[in-house]
């Protein structure tokens, strides 16, 4: 089978002062008709740059410095802008990660899809309308006629991504480039979108270049795989070979870092509870004056859970399930409306503001965003020392403690003088952990602590967390959307949906014999389920 798109020795130069001279180095790849080629790599590997280079949509100061991009007998690397405009959308289409920002918020979905036809064809308005509705039906958006009139914000994330795919496939392109199209979606929605892409690709024979960081997705969808590291393709081949007999060390390391969905043998955990939640409620109210158009959102409803001493309780669920709100209720960043949260028998919700501030040191939180959770204007050491200083420790003692904690979490103690932006994402997450540990907490609440990290870094941080748990006797509430991660770190798990805990119990029991329909659906949606098991 001949290649429809062929990259030959493609090299893309970065401006001087970047962390490496070339975003892509001598990349050679063939994309055949009717196949899905997954390009997989960690952040900074150059995989998105490759997509931009093919579309010739590179940022202003980045340019193609060598090699060729052969497509339908033309070299796109040197094609002029008019040629590219005729190709983009019509012959090579693209689907982006975040459909909300890729769609124009002020125009209806139908209008934006119809625009594809208006630009590239001379069909009549009635014909365009009919084609547009047929497309929406094809990507299985419920009620296509209504969806066509809707604005992007009126659709759910999954429906928006379906609309984007409809737009991309409008003119039956030869090549579809999908840049992390399911990364921003919930796991059940992701499973549907992957199935849709697979289905459409088989029916239309489109060649798909699928960019992702997630080996689970690769296992789910890929025919062939190319693994990228630092701008180089280190390994490529049929999906089965790359996933099960990886040749390159980097591929092996990446695959080893993917947590298996099967929980390890259960640890012995104490029967004594340190944290007991009973009937915890939180309702958000919004709306105008005098109760007009008032809306109520039940973020957390009647949650009853307990965390054994030294154990790890996972809280899993999709976005909007209330798991983050629950975490914030426990750390008192959000005031719960009802119920009780007892730490060693003391109800945290009944404490006065002053007492609560004292109790704060016993329950500490680690946040999701390694960039947003550290004040950019404070030095790393100060960030860690701040907590103990507020509670009366002298500056020198607190800084000495920060130094100790830095080595405990695997950072160079000399790095306390540096600012947060001088650290990588994984290192920042370690600083966040050190900051929480500086308070010598009994309970650590970790809200998606590894979901913003690359898979290899994620594995290191999880390993660190497991070590510290044993060494410091920590009890952990671990919030995550990633069932693979939950399977590896949690002793107990609670599954949340729409603010309620629908099922909870020991992790092995819940994951191997789920009782609730929603838990079953969640587990069935994990991409590449059998992979890594």
């Amino acid at each position: 089978m001949s290649a429809v798109l062929s990259l030959q020795g493609l090299t893309v130069a970065l401006p001087s002062g970047a962390d490496r001279p070339e975003a892509l180095r001598q990349v050679s790849l063939d994309l055949h008709a009717g196949e899905i080629l997954c390009v997989v790599g960690e952040s900074g590997s150059g995989k998105s740059m490759m997509a931009s280079a093919i579309m010739r949509l590179l940022p202003g100061n980045v340019r193609i410095s060598g090699g060729s991009i052969l497509f339908e007998g033309k070299d796109l690397a040197s094609a002029n802008e008019a040629t590219m405009r005729a190709l983009r959308g019509a012959r090579i289409a693209m689907v982006f990660q975040e459909p909300m920002t890729a769609l124009n918020p002020l125009r209806s979905i139908g209008d934006q899809i119809a625009e594809m036809f208006r630009i590239h064809t001379s069909l009549s308005n009635a014909e365009i309308e009919a084609r547009m509705l047929a497309l929406l039906d094809e990507v299985r958006i419920p009620h296509p006629a209504e969806a066509a009139r809707a604005f992007p914000h009126e659709l759910s994330g999954g429906q928006r991504q379906r609309a984007m795919i409809a737009m991309a496939l409008a003119l039956d392109p030869v090549v579809l480039i999908a840049d992390e199209p399911t990364t921003a979606l919930d796991v059940t929605t992701q499973a549907q979108i992957l199935a849709l892409i697979r289905d459409l690709q088989q029916r239309k024979g489109t060649a798909v270049l699928f960019i992702t960081h997630d080996f689970g997705v690769v296992a789910e969808i890929a025919d062939r795989v190319a693994v990228m590291q630092h701008g180089l393709v280190v390994e490529q081949g049929p999906a089965r070979d790359v996933l099960h007999q990886p040749q390159h060390d980097y591929t092996k390391a990446l695959i080893a870092a993917v947590p298996p969905l099967k929980a390890p043998a259960p640890r012995a955990i104490s029967s004594e509870s340190i944290l007991v939640l009973e009937g915890v409620q939180k309702t958000y109210r919004s709306g105008g004056f005098f109760g007009r158009r008032r809306r109520e959102t039940h973020a957390v409803r009647d949650v009853t859970l307990s965390l054994p001493k030294g154990g790890t309780l996972g809280v899993v669920g999709e976005s909007g399930s209330g798991k983050s709100t629950l975490a914030r209720c426990i750390t008192r960043l959000v005031q719960a409306d009802g119920g009780s949260i007892r730490l060693d028998g003391v109800d945290l919700l009944q404490l006065s503001k002053r007492e609560a501030r004292q109790a704060a040191r016993r329950v500490q939180m680690v946040f999701q965003d390694p960039y947003g959770s550290l004040n950019p204007r404070r030095r790393a050491g100060e960030l860690v020392a701040q907590g103990p200083m507020i509670h009366g420790m002298s500056r020198d003692a607190a800084m000495a403690k920060a130094r100790e904690l830095f080595s405990l979490v695997g950072l160079d103690p000399a790095a306390i003088e540096r600012f947060p932006h001088e650290f990588s994402g994984g290192q920042r997450q370690r600083i966040g952990l050190a900051r929480a540990l500086a308070m010598e907490p009994e309970v650590l609440v970790a809200d998606e602590p590894v979901s913003a990290l690359d898979v290899s870094v994620q594995a290191q941080v999880l390993k660190l967390l497991a070590e510290l748990r044993v060494r410091l006797g920590l009890s952990i509430v671990f919030i995550t959307h990633d069932l693979r991660v939950a399977a590896q770190v949690c002793d107990l798990v609670a599954v949340m949906k729409d603010g309620e805990v629908v099922e909870h119990g020991p992790i092995a029991q819940v994951f191997e014999a789920p009782r609730h329909a929603y838990t079953k659906a969640l587990l069935a949606s994990v991409p590449g389920r059998g992979f890594g098991a």
Partner: protein, 280 residues
């Protein structure tokens, strides 16, 4: 230190910003050397009134209708204008930051009350409000400066509030609350430094407007007549505007140059502090 050096380089890459800085330094130099070049009281009688610039080598910029040296008034006036600019701006920025920070951080009722107050100030034309304040409290230099500061804060308050609204829900702020940090410390030590850059840039606009407000007040002869300010000189020149126009025009140019310099520096700071514009 290297951060400061990088900032200076980013600033000076913009030629307009460099020009602004040069002009501002020149004006500050004028203010500092006023006593050295013109040791006598600038408001004292110096010679025959209304001599054109260049007509008498003793008075390079001529004399006004009371026979006072215009060059001496320009040099000494630079002090007054800069003083008014700095002090009034500081007052306005401090009031604005405190109100904006409290409104943005606490939200809810606090925000409603403070923002309605801000709107009350914004709906009144601030020059009119200034006239009212000066006519009630008199036109001594200190009252004029304080009054200008008091009418100029609302925009700063709105800007600070907007910054706080976007920063208060960041995870680093939540982390501070999680450590048991008090509100005052979170507002002023943690959030404020992050909210400050756009406010500092905006302060240059406040400063330019403050200098203009004082001139306008002086033009109406409502500013302090006992100091040699540029505005007073313009106000004095009003009577002879049709023939001896230079009496008003010379201080007018001085004000124009100062406001231009301050604005250019503000623009330059904005470009240097705004990372999104880097590499353009």
């Amino acid at each position: 230190m290297p951060a400061l050096k990088r900032f200076a380089l980013a600033y000076l890459r913009n030629p307009a910003a460099g020009l602004g800085l040069f002009l501002l330094v020149a004006i500050i130099a004028m203010a500092l050397t006023a006593d050295w070049f013109f040791p006598r009281d600038p408001l004292a009688l110096a010679g025959r009134p209304l001599q054109w610039p260049g007509a008498n080598p003793r008075f390079a910029l001529g004399t006004d209708n009371s026979g006072r040296d215009i060059a001496a008034q320009i040099f000494h006036g630079a002090r007054i204008s800069l003083l008014i600019g700095l002090v009034a701006t500081s007052i306005a920025v401090v009031i604005g930051i405190v109100i904006g920070a409290l409104a943005g951080y606490y939200g809810g009722v606090v925000d409603d009350v403070l923002m309605r107050l801000t709107e009350a100030f914004q709906t009144l034309p601030n020059f009119l409000l200034l006239l009212v304040l000066v006519s009630i409290f008199g036109s001594e230099l200190t009252t004029v400066v304080v009054a200008i500061g008091v009418v100029s804060w609302p925009a700063t308050a709105r800007l600070t509030r907007a910054e706080f609204l976007s920063l208060r829900n960041r995870e680093f702020v939540q982390a501070c609350r999680g450590l048991g940090m008090g509100d005052g410390r979170i507002i002023f030590r943690e959030i404020l430094p992050n909210a400050l850059p756009p406010v500092i840039v905006y302060a240059s606009v406040v400063m330019a407007v403050a200098i203009l407000l004082e001139s306008a007040l002086a033009f109406l002869r409502l500013s302090d007549p006992n100091v040699a300010s540029w505005g007073n000189l313009i106000g004095l020149g009003r009577d002879v505007l049709r023939v001896q126009w230079y009496v008003s025009a010379i201080p007018g140019v001085a004000i124009l140059v100062t406001v231009l310099a301050v604005s250019l520096v503000g623009q330059g700071l904005n470009d240097a502090l705004n990372p999104r514009l880097k590499g353009r």
